[in-house]
Structure formats: structure tokens, C-alpha cells
Amino acid sequence: MNVRRREDGLEFFEVDPFLAELLRQIPESANVDDAPKAKARLFSAPADESEPELRKEWKEYIEPELQRLFRSSSETVALDLKQLCGKERSFANRTLRIPNEHADAWLNALNQARLAIAARNDFTEGELGDCYRSPIGSRRDLSLFQVNFYGFLQEVILRELCGCGDNGADQ
């Protein structure tokens, strides 16, 4: 897979079928409806238990707004990803263009997906720092690769579309 900066956005070209499939899984990975742990991470509490009133109001009024924001980002990304569902041979390399104005939606959806996958798998900090583990082995290894691949995409978008520096590591 290669990346090219264009005036109107970012182009990922020569995307092989394996990476294309991982890209197609972003919206699904970000969906936390059936994953309580992941849902708890995406909708974390705004205060500790000494503020029950605030926590209650937050659930009632703020969480639905956050849900809308997250859903809207995922939908924007899902629309862009239709570029990867062409009628060419399934093993052909693909091209994906991300318009400048979709940068924030991509950052958000990628982050949702990374956090949700990490929460579903209970990845340790050590595992998350292991960028060289092969995706071939187990479903867990593949999920870890997915988190790191999405992190790489975030870095590229931050650097190319948001003008942010590149210092790679996790927080």
C-alpha cells in the first residue's frame, strides 16, 4: 500500500486485498452495540461516583449526542469505503481516496474502532506496544494488527491532512 497527498485529499493506492478487507471492517469494528466492554470505553463516565447527578444527566442528555457524532463519523467512512467494493477481481489491488473534509470523520471512526477492538480483547499495554507481531497466528494477533494498522492510518491522516507532527507512539 502506498500513500499520495493530493490537493483535495489523501490517496491510498496499491491497497492489497488483505488491507482492503481490514479497511472495510472499520465501521463494523466501531459498532459496540453487542459489546458492553467496548461500549463502556467509548461512553466513559464524566466524573467519579461522588457525582451521581452529573453521571445521570450525562447518560440522559450527552450520551445520545455522542452516539450521533460517532455514528455520523462511521457513516462517512462507510461511504468512502464503497470505493473498495468495486466489481474488479476480488484479488486486485484497490485505491482509496479520503477527501480533506472527511479527515475528522476518519480520525474519529478509526479511534472508535481501535478502542473498541482493544476493549473487546483486553489488550495489555505491552501487547499494544508490540508493533511487529505477525497477524497470522490467532484471531487475537489479527485484532492487534488491526489496532496497529488503524493507528498507522491515523498517523498518516494527522500528518498529511491535519498538519500534525509524527512521533508515532501510543499515549
Binding site: P46, A47, I62, L66, L107, R114
Partner: protein, 102 residues
């Protein structure tokens, strides 16, 4: 002359009580961001710049504080604004809470 009609009983109005005391509202509150091994350093720095309008060096200082010490106080002031900042930070999927200033 007043026409006689059915008797209407009006219930005593319910007065909503605001559960927050004045002290609660006025106390300085702080916005705290907690460590999260998944979020990228560059992403967190960008979020601090966007949400608080901090220059890059200040945003990076807070990001490193979160990374190294587990939390950083990003802002303190009135409760309403602190809540708004926490909402924005949650929109970017950071672990952020509002706390009373000690």
C-alpha cells in the same frame, strides 16, 4: 352575576428543587484527562490544541504528563465550562473527567 359551574380543585404546584447548591456551581472545577494506552500521542496533542486552543508545546507538555503520570489537569474554572470541555474531549474519545478542585 357569576354563573355557577363545576368546582375545580387546583393542586398545589410542585416546585422543582435544583439539586446543585450554589457552592457546587461556584467552586472551581477541573478538567482531568487520564492515560489511555490506545490513543496516539500525536492525536492527543492535536485534541488538546483544538479543544483548549493551546499552543503545540503546551499541548505536548500535557500529553506527556498524561502519559508519564497517568493524568493531567487541562483546565480549571466554572463547572458549566468544565462540563463542556469534558463533553468535547469525550467526542474525541479521550478519557476525561470533571473534578472539584481541592
Amino acid at each position: 352575576m357569576i354563573a355557577e359551574g363545576p368546582t375545580v380543585t387546583i393542586d398545589k404546584p410542585t416546585i422543582e428543587q435544583d439539586t446543585r447548591t450554589k457552592e457546587d456551581v461556584d467552586l472551581p472545577w477541573q478538567v482531568v484527562v487520564h492515560n489511555d494506552p490506545v490513543n496516539l500521542m500525536t492525536y492527543v496533542t492535536m485534541v488538546f490544541q483544538r479543544v483548549f486552543g493551546y499552543p503545540r508545546t503546551k499541548a505536548e507538555k500535557h500529553m506527556l504528563e498524561v502519559h508519564q503520570q497517568g493524568r493531567s489537569i487541562l483546565w480549571s474554572g466554572v463547572r458549566e465550562r468544565a462540563e463542556l470541555y469534558v463533553q468535547q474531549l469525550h467526542g474525541y474519545l479521550l478519557l476525561a473527567t470533571i473534578e472539584k478542585t481541592n
